[in-house]
Symmetry: C2
Amino acid sequence: MRQRLFIPGPVEVSQEVLLSLAKPLMGHRTKDFEEILIECWNMLKQVFKTKNDTLIITGSGTSAMDAAIASCISEGEEVICITGGKFGERLAEIARSYKARVKEVEVTWGETVSIEKVEEAVANSSAKAITLTHNETSTGVLHDAEKIGKIAKEYGLLFIVDGVSSVGGNEFKTDEWSIDIAITGSQKCLATPPGLAFLSVSNKAWEVIEDNDTRNYYLNLKFYRKSLKKNTTPFTPAVSLIYALHQALKEVFKEGLENRIKRHSILAKATREAVKAMNLELLPKEEVASNTVTAIKIPPKLSDDDIRGVMRREHGILLAGGQAQLKGKIFRIGHMGNVSYAELLGMLSALELTLKKAKHDFKLGGGIEAAESIIGKI
Amino acid sequence: MRQRLFIPGPVEVSQEVLLSLAKPLMGHRTKDFEEILIECWNMLKQVFKTKNDTLIITGSGTSAMDAAIASCISEGEEVICITGGKFGERLAEIARSYKARVKEVEVTWGETVSIEKVEEAVANSSAKAITLTHNETSTGVLHDAEKIGKIAKEYGLLFIVDGVSSVGGNEFKTDEWSIDIAITGSQKCLATPPGLAFLSVSNKAWEVIEDNDTRNYYLNLKFYRKSLKKNTTPFTPAVSLIYALHQALKEVFKEGLENRIKRHSILAKATREAVKAMNLELLPKEEVASNTVTAIKIPPKLSDDDIRGVMRREHGILLAGGQAQLKGKIFRIGHMGNVSYAELLGMLSALELTLKKAKHDFKLGGGIEAAESIIGKI
């Protein structure tokens, strides 16, 4: 039995995307490859909802986070980092590793950031930029990028947003929300294999980048800009993954970006209603819960293995565990990319059987009924 | 007509490798994926001929060059960089971008480095490391890594070697040659799609790395070491490319590494004899010419398009041009990876026709005869 991925990346990709990987390699400096790159950049602009430049890096999502920080921030400069989860903290860690002065707006893991606290931090600082993890994959919390964007704009700060697990699955309006650098990865809502990261960069950010004393080479965004003007990438890209991206983006627009976001939102709501009916508790409050990953507390009498182990061994379904301080305390269901309602319902049914096996107290079928009542409303 | 790649990367990969890319994605933190990673690391040790740790980075060859420099060298420290081509200069550029003091041992493009000059540079320096591009892809010159390794060892310098276009196609003995950090890429002699880079790191290098004040995050080798101990990678790897690498490395050992190196050497010699018989001039002296890429001067009466343009348009064969100061002056034939003798001969025949069309003076069939006489000796 092959494992079916319900983790927050890598996600299952379509068979068309898998087969596109198997196309013969092309020279990466040829006109034919240029055309594919240009189409990818343009489709990424639509995904990010931006007129800004879009860039493709061969690397993980973290490579793009690193590139953004390293290209904008110099030693001793102040950055405000909104944390509250593993990936929010990662942006702060990256900034610290480049010897920036990091002012952290701390958020309890599982909660959303207080806009007042952000405003207060910004008002009393000389920060150059503010970083936000739009959808915190480790806690399943969605932050309000729009409101924070307004503050960033008002105070003239660069707004750097990690949209790795939200772009393509959640509303994400780069230009409307004044996002100077938006970041996402291939292996999440865009349903492409891992290994590519994408950024959009505003003119305001380019000005900062051109002036910044960046030491990095591979992740120096200046080089990507220079190559962009020549319709190429500064370093040999992962050609096969670009084929896959090209196919996956076409599939995104075949479904329609808004339809895709709506589907993610229904998948998320159905999942939440189902797990509540299974007598499980969500980690975040529902009003800030993510469209793409649901974080659920492991009931006191159950272990991580009772849930994730049994799901994997008996149902061939891979769920994610908690990370860092949440390890063993929560499990996470990724419902991003191409997941259909039927696939979600099948996974949720397996979860019911798994919980029953562990003698968890709830009404068998209740979770599915709750999920169906959400999906049935469409 | 699909283009057949005779460029120095990306190269043609086997159909088995292409199809392995199309396998369904796995969770990158699963036991099953760990096993694939471990086998890849072990096969890479054999390819590098080392007992040192081997690492896999999702990125281009340059990402590994960057990681090596950034992880070993701090601001103000001295590095000796042997240049003499685009990639030798790139290592120096990377070191400079991290504000190292770079002492360049300059080499005329197309020539090999003088060992005396290296010894002189090392003797009069306080350098922490010496960098070498083993096979300079831009000029088709192979440098003597063994001799330089002896000097590095004698003076206690870290020896960092870019083997991107030599490992797997040329003799490369990491441990015997005292190479502390060896670097290679997926898309050259290992006949894997682009997007992965590999390093081997000696204990001596690890000591330096652990002590170094590295600012980088994604390309900080410390993180790769920490993850290696847990049989994983620090950041989500390009899972599909790892499948391809796994398959490609198995194919390397099915052929036999020594057989593969011998094949490359025959391909190179046959190419050189053929182009000489076609009344063309090699850029490097033959005794320092590369096993994997042959750099040939464009005859005064011919243009780059007369050769590469016609080869591409009429024969579907992609050759490489000159880079930087050699642009328009040379063309390059990549004969690395899985190229067979028959494929090489077909390409060389097309080159004869192309040259004849441009009214270049030589005896039609003479190049093929010369190449056959080399291949026939096996």
